[in-house]
Point group: C7
Chain length 97, copies 7
């Protein structure tokens, strides 16, 4: 799966897993959680934001990673029939597997 | 397309795409999105803001880029019959294509 | 006990101790405490977040540590029949024992 | 046009363009803009604020520049029959022409 | 007096003095004080938090110090029949004696 | 005019000009200004606050300067029959003349 | 006058001047002041807080200084029959005399 969007800085483009997929993988988010993380696949990764010396901070995720992310602060887009989420690097909590 | 405005620091001047153009390119923003990104073309790019050592941080977009940006924090101007948006570098989420 | 989740940055995955376990270990949180710390076992530890020079800050906890942590800011997940909490390094107050 | 006020740090003294002048130059601010930028001429420029090493950060505007600025955070003064606005360097969005 | 809890970063574990003890030592907190400091004994001291270079900042208190501290921001725990308070280094105002 | 108060850090002691004096110098503050700057004379200047390396940042005003300042954040004192204002260096907007 | 309290970091212990003393020295605080500074004598001075390199920032006041300070943020204590105030270095505005 590929996408014609190049993220900037530390932005990451995620294809959110469908509800059935989430059940299949065994991930379940309880209703009483303060913030509900979600599962998805990384489609594109920015070059990283620059540190105080102007050098890029390397990104910890790569295209193809299945990630647990927080929707908080993300931006939803619908592009050529698909929904995507653009999140910052700090919104990714963990890599599955 | 050119514009007689020179942005300062990391400011970027964007010509917002018309509604039809957005449909043609296949970008669609769902109504339930928290913050709706918009599509446009970069007309002018500032020299970059200075880091802690007083050196310019290079800009990641260039004139002519088609970008997905967040209107949040931007400033709208109408100049010689056209509408523009001035946004900071952090308001640009991704480059299309 | 192991888990198929790799935390990023300074994230820590904790298996919260059951209520009986907390009583057995003698830890008791009074009702009038402003913020109730909780006891659990560290299942996975991120590589540490990067400092201003881009180097990893070493983590002070390791897998297997019994910790006293603050739930504030953490994210609950339910994965393959178990509940976990993902917290940042600063949410761990002390190591037991 | 000159003014007997010496701005400090990164302060800039601006003579706001009259309403007719704004129409003549073709700049028009729509009513639905969140923050309305305004057009004016730079009369005096501070020496720049100091960076973390105590050195002055150079100013990007000079006396005589026609600028698009944000009134937000500025301070209005009336001096010898004229109105001026004192703004910080970050309140200047772009140089016209 | 010892405790089986190892504080992290710049955390300090304090055994709060009983009300009688406070009277005996002559410390009295007036009712109209905005924030009431309290007296206690330091039981355990973290290794210090890391500065921007990743080195530990030395702690200014040591085990056994009688301290005047602010409860604001601290976390109360009850462990094996005793009450403790976990505070950050900045919550300790002064060492008595 | 002198004063027996030595300001610390980047504090500046100002003798506020009387209302008549303000009219004489031609400075007039319109009622609709968000924050009204005021005119006064600098009586004493602190040594400057220290930067990240512990060195003093030089002050841009000197004793005797007539300044335009913002009262916001200042502290009024009445000492030996006179009113003064103690402001931080950032509250001084411009030097007159 | 001495005190058996050792302040930490940049904390300063002040013995507040009695109301009569304030009148005698000619200091008078008008009722309409936003924040009322107060006069007192410095009894104890902390070693200074550490800068980003871990070195102590020298303190600008010394034991015995008569100071004008802001009560805002300070903590009142009553110890062996006397009232004291513990303030941070930034709460001291000026040294008298």
């Amino acid at each position: 799966m590929s996408i014609a969007l190049t993220p900037l800085e530390d932005k990451i483009i995620i294809k959110q897993a469908a509800a059935e997929t989430q059940t299949a993988s065994g991930l379940y988010i309880p209703d009483n959680a303060k913030e509900k993380p979600q599962q998805g696949e990384v489609l594109a990764v920015g070059p990283g934001r620059r540190d105080d010396k102007g050098e890029r901070i390397p990104m910890d995720v790569k295209v193809g990673d299945k990630v647990l992310y927080s929707k908080y602060g993300g931006t939803e887009v619908h592009y050529q029939g698909e929904d995507y989420l653009i999140v910052g690097a700090r919104d990714v909590l963990a890599i599955l597997g």
